[in-house]
Point group: C3
Chain length 245, copies 3
């Protein structure tokens, strides 16, 4: 039940995305997850298009910063479970390998994004939509948003660099509750814990947030260029991560 | 005035501990510090037994997670000062060396514990009982708990990896107040600072906490195995710590 | 319009500072920024004298800890913009080089300070007075204090190690808002985010804070010596920072 079966020839061209609505205006590239009927669940196409849209925004000199948000009531309900269904036993191994490459490319698109990256969380976020939140520079959330990472109860591991970012952002005592024990938290709790920058009343959310984002896009670009790579958590592993030897 | 003078033949056997009450039930290994009349002050025997109980729980395949808690009104009043009293001058140097090995083994038992480790802080915690708190994955506390590390006023250094974990958990501005200037904090403050995961009213503390812990023990084990070593602060030095060279 | 044009022969001698008021009493070295009419804006002389005062306090065996505070209503309004004005085009390159050396020496004086360093923020702090806050061990603030780092809007980069300390102290989601997008925060917010240890009502601020600081100076010195270098954020780069290679 994917609504993105159409194989677009060149997903890296704005306007040609089938699962996203991407717009550029006054320096702001808005990447909107656009499967509202499916709560913006991420299909294989959406993983690829999301990564392509980030890469495109990074290269485009007219883009000052990028925003990711969802269409409709949900920010994103996580991985579309149809991605992993109907796989024949003999194809299981290949699918696991393909999924691994898919996710790696998806996360790399975040890590390599060199401009300010802002999450506008318009509703509930689940799974990979939560774990990737530590790769953003700012996260603004409506007070109707919730954050849920139900991995352990499914016998799965959290992805999106969350095992790296969550202990740093939330502290270990709170990260474990979310990542090991599936604790679902509200926008207010997420903000108190540092996963969200600021929470807004749902009624004025879009107005307040976009006013602020548009003002950020008017700042001189020089300041970002030098500071961002040093402060963004998504590039810290390049500075300090040492593999377990 | 130690109540644990009995030299048990094999402290690594459940039921044979003299300073602890250790039980295994439905995947939960409960390690209860059991010197309530002494506010669960840690004798030399208790250091050794606590380490042995952690090692035993880690090896036991029936154990999903371990909990440390105290019997009576105190969680733990820290190091039993009798450990260091009545030492003759000629034995001082050997005692210092023995203590160092004892503490190293005790901390290693935490660092090497590979399953979820939960602190159930049923009352005041002092000294090494506080400094080791950064080695747990979750800490649930009664609202009657307090946290106190009176090292500087005694001219001592804090142990239990706290100089590593506390700045990461509390941030430097708050860690210094506790570790350098002996600030005693409440359970509510500890929770706000990230040292405690959640605080419960004392009246419902045991019921609420154990209900939650028992539910955690029913999760599929696969999820923990992969995630825990990456997010637990007690194993982070293995990943990223570089000694001052 | 600098009020520190007098070239004092030896700025490293207490009482001879022209931009600071430095006193030693009962183990506490109080370094007071003393240009209240200029909101304690930092002239080139003040950069040098501040660094010299820290070095002097570090060497003086009678000093247990040092405090930095401001005279008048402001803590410090940041870099005195006169430092960079009236420079002739042919001298621009040399001035940039001189400024870089000046700032490096200033920051080094913090990093090399081996005793507890306490900020007593008596009013608004701006720019470099905020970015250096992550190099203190404790920061006590009046509820009238505010914290503002308007670098991006000027096309400048934040200094004072803030790109290193701020993400660690505030978390990335809040650090970006301050360092990239110039968000001005109140003392209460700064405390909630970990940049300030405690906030006091302005009316009782001086009394409460100095009572506490004087009590700290009476602690045995042994405890600090071993613990401080391990927990202070200003010395952490020595332990764990690995340059991007």
């Amino acid at each position: 039940s994917s609504d993105s079966s159409a194989d677009s020839a060149d997903p890296a061209t704005s306007g040609k995305y089938t699962t996203l609505d991407v717009t550029n205006q006054n320096g702001v590239c808005k990447i909107q997850l656009n499967r509202p009927k499916k709560k913006n669940a991420i299909t294989i196409d959406m993983y690829n298009e999301w990564a392509a849209a980030l890469a495109e925004a990074d290269k485009d000199p007219s883009v000052v910063l990028a925003v990711v948000t969802g269409a409709g009531d949900y920010y994103c309900s996580g991985n579309d479970l149809n991605n992993f269904m109907g796989v024949k036993p003999e194809n299981m191994s290949k699918m696991a390998q393909d999924s691994s490459v898919l996710l790696q490319n998806f996360v790399d698109a975040f890590i390599n994004f060199s401009k300010p990256l802002i999450g506008v969380v318009n509703g509930p976020a689940v799974g990979v939509a939560v774990t990737t939140m530590g790769l953003f520079d700012l996260v603004y959330a409506t007070d109707k948003a919730t954050f849920h990472t139900p991995f352990s109860s499914l016998g799965q591991s959290p992805e999106g660099c969350s095992s790296y970012t969550f202990p740093k952002i939330l502290g270990p005592m709170k990260a474990a509750e979310m990542l090991l024990f599936n604790k679902k938290i509200s926008a207010a709790e997420a903000c108190k814990l540092g996963l969200v920058t600021e929470v807004f009343p749902d009624q004025s959310f879009q107005t307040e947030v976009w006013e602020r984002i548009n003002s950020y896009a008017k700042f001189p670009k020089g300041g970002y260029g030098l500071t961002l790579p040093e402060i963004t958590l998504r590039q810290m592993p390049k500075f300090s991560f040492i593999p377990n030897s």
